[in-house]
Symmetry: C2
Subunit: 314 residues, 2 copies
């Protein structure tokens, strides 16, 4: 099945459009968690792996997607990367789609190597084997089509997806993305190219394998891009910790509640911080995660078209 | 010593501005090389490690810098990343500076995690340890200052460097980088910001820790950027295989032959391809690498200001 169809159906089945972002900062792990592991790079990596797997146990039954932020694993060298790999393998055995958030970018055969790495297969001993095998990855458009086409080609062949950075959620997104050329800001030039990149790559549910990253923190831009890019899945960062509200995101959805996938990272995984002070070893951080997911699902249901995703019987 | 000073002095000492790019594509390894390793992901990763270390033995005495393309290692999963780590450790014991070419980009604490990963130190058991410890890394500017500042901050603290993509060497670089806003193409807006990012980060030799990636395949843009960005080190890809010639690059140098670092990847590491057909197991690929380095050094010396780097006695 095509990636975009898998997404739409998972969103429908779970009844919400939430992506749980797994960005494990060791210093934010629940009280006492890190201390159970050796104080070495491998020990911290092991802690990140175990934490990620535990988060998956809680969230995989509840949400359609998870997103792994590669930076926090790369920070612990090859051991950290191995921990990410093991956590992704764990996720793949659960009922949840996996996005690799590495914002990779390069040209030609190098871009192809990244695409093969995360979405496709690499040559091993005369055969081809998947190395990472995630469902989708984030990519950066600064290099133009040469830097996008190899990802799209391999995503199409492997029934996977990409999310191209269009409008990021940070304050200085404006610096280059808002520069106006021929009456259009750069991010809208990227959006226009995105339609070309995705041409003919529509799944049965009407969505494309080439998605867009559009921040929750720019509601007007989000609304405009939704209008301009029907059939494009939006990965929406910036909800919660970064200040984006459900109301800000509402216009990013299609009327049926599909089309926008809303990420929340530390607001969910480190939700225990809200309910208890650090150092309180008795805190039930798993339950805090579960409650934070339900809270976010309810918030989106109440304030965005995502409310229409809920089964009528609910 | 500051990164930029280390670069300038290494270029002076070696008498050339060459970066050997190590982008190991398994299918291009010398005849018979890959076959000595098990046909597994770990086996291929081991082959990449051994090849990279062998290349280093040949080139480290000859050139000031090497650059590792992360994509080709990530393609082999955690095993590939471990091979990259081991090869970088090997490089750090040789007399050569190391650039991690991963074109990373993100915002806030995520950008900081990448910067700590590759340039700085990460918290481990109450202390701080380096995970990768390279001399410099490439980064992508699409996210604006939020995505650059954390890298610059940590590079400054650790006496390391960054190279920001300004004008890439590929054909479709024009798509977004050449869009004109307020009379200036986007890549020149990036160049202007780059001066802000590097403010006050000059070493004793007059160069900044914030460098720029500027492709050899756009000689006019290269010349213009050189004029606009004195004191900024250029990492110049696109020489050789991508079509850039020494004459194209000449204007990227300062008159004394400093300021431009010219990368060549497969033109050096897979130079045996030029001298013998694949399948000829007798090919001396190490000698082909050595000859390709000398040829490139001579070409740059004859056709660019890099000729002035050579000691008077040579």
């Amino acid at each position: 099945m095509e990636f975009a169809d898998r997404v739409v159906q998972a969103v429908r089945r779970k009844g919400n459009p939430v992506i749980v972002g797994i960005d494990p900062r060791p210093e934010e792990l629940p009280p006492g968690f890190l201390e159970r592991f050796p104080g070495t790079r491998a020990g911290v990596a092991d802690a990140l792996r175990e934490f990620g797997c535990e988060v998956l146990e809680v969230v995989a039954p509840l949400v359609p997607l998870v997103k792994f932020q590669s930076a926090f694993y790369e920070a612990y060298g090859p051991e950290g990367v191995a921990a990410l790999h093991a956590t992704i393998e764990h996720a793949r055995k659960r009922d949840v789609l996996v996005i690799f958030d590495g914002k990779r970018n390069d040209i030609g055969s190098t871009a192809e190597a990244y695409a093969r790495a995360y979405l496709g297969k690499t040559p091993v001993g005369g055969a081809f084997e998947p190395s990472w095998d995630v469902d989708a990855m984030t990519i950066n458009p600064y290099l133009g089509s040469d830097g996008i086409d190899p990802f799209v080609k391999i995503a199409a062949r492997e029934h996977k997806g990409v999310f191209v950075l269009v409008r990021t959620s940070n304050a200085s997104a404006r610096e280059f993305q808002d520069l106006v050329c021929d009456g259009l800001p750069i991010y809208r030039h990227v959006a226009r190219r995105l339609q070309t990149w995705g041409k003919g790559k529509q799944g049965e549910e009407g969505y494309n394998l080439v998605g867009a990253v559009v921040g929750a923190t720019y509601p007007n831009e989000l609304a405009q891009l939704r209008e301009e890019l029907p059939g494009v899945l939006f990965l929406v960062p910036g909800y919660g910790a970064q200040g984006g509200t459900a109301k800000d995101i509402a216009a990013g959805f299609a009327p049926d509640g599909q089309g926008a996938l809303v990420n929340n990272s530390r607001g969910i995984t480190f939700a225990y911080n809200k309910v208890a002070h650090r150092g309180d070893a008795g805190v039930d951080w798993r339950r805090a995660i579960e409650e934070a997911v339900h809270e976010m699902v309810d918030d989106l249901a109440a304030n965005t078209p995502a409310g229409r995703l809920r089964p009528a019987s609910a």
